[in-house]
């Protein structure tokens, strides 16, 4: 009994350090889509990818630095032939998984496009340990879940490389 309590105590103490992986799969959506991007990279795959990122190349070294700390990258992106091919309510299942540590940093609601950005801000951590991006357009739906500490400084170093657009880190978190 005492051992179980001790184990639970250890678990409770270490739980905040572990970022949360969300279930971002939406059943049936891929069948309706014209194009699907389905990326699932757990920590093992990230470590493997890391080995193939050149330390000699400064751009790849920057990616390597980001990836080495992450526990997972999950991307689901769907492009549809027609507008309103999906029910926006399906995203509620993703939002419902976001616990109290998740902070909505950006919420943009336009006529055509809705964007939401969430950071997982755990107590004792000075940087986000998780990121969720939901981008919903009439013909396109993208959900990104990055698990692990995200260094925005390092991410901003990737601007202009590998087709990554220029972006200031201020721009990503100065609106709520």
């Amino acid at each position: 009994m005492r051992k179980t309590l001790f184990a639970l105590l250890i678990l409770a103490m270490t739980a905040p350090l572990h970022a949360q992986r969300l279930t971002i799969d939406i059943p049936g959506l891929a069948d309706k889509a014209k194009e699907v991007v389905d990326i699932t990279l757990d920590s093992q795959m990230l470590r493997l990818a890391s080995k193939f990122l050149s330390a000699g190349d400064s751009d790849e070294r920057a990616v390597k630095a980001i990836v080495s700390k992450l526990e997972g990258i999950y991307v689901r992106s769907y492009e549809f032939d027609s507008e309103h091919a999906y029910d926006p309510a399906v995203l509620d299942k993703v939002r419902a998984q976001l616990g109290p540590s998740w902070k909505k940093i950006v919420n943009v609601r336009g006529r055509q496009e809705n964007s939401e950005i969430y950071f997982d801000m755990r107590a004792g951590s000075d940087q986000p340990v998780g990121l969720v991006v939901i981008s919903a357009e009439p013909r396109e739906l993208t959900i990104v879940n990055i698990v692990g500490p995200i260094d925005l400084d390092q991410l901003s170093h990737l601007e202009g490389e590998f087709g990554i657009p220029h972006m200031s880190k201020k721009g990503a978190n100065d609106h709520e």
């Binding site: 990818a49 943009v108 981008s135 200031s168 721009g171």
Partner: protein, 93 residues
């Protein structure tokens, strides 16, 4: 004893030891079996090297694929963050 006598003594006809013929014939019969040993070793070595190489090539392919996926994932993420930022700028105008 001079050299000639020594040579004659050394090269004189000797009868083979008993069962010498049988032993030679038996050894000759066993010889083909021994040939398979290096062949089997070579085949095993080829399999091991081939297997290791195939595993290395597969691992490399998987690694390259993982790398491409990482870059694509970061590209999509950054693109969406960028689009959101642009959207915010448009709305704030």
């Amino acid at each position: 004893m001079n050299l000639d006598e020594e040579l004659k003594l050394a090269l004189r006809r000797k009868e083979p030891p008993p069962r010498f013929r049988d032993r030679v014939l038996a050894a000759t019969k066993q010889r083909p079996r021994k040939i398979w040993r290096p062949l089997a070793a070579a085949a095993l070595l080829t399999l091991v090297i081939g297997g290791t190489t195939a595993r290395y090539v597969e691992q490399r392919r998987e690694g390259e694929r993982a790398k491409e996926q990482v870059l694509l994932a970061l590209r999509i993420t950054s693109q969406k963050l960028h689009d959101t930022r642009e959207h915010i700028h448009e709305l704030s105008k």
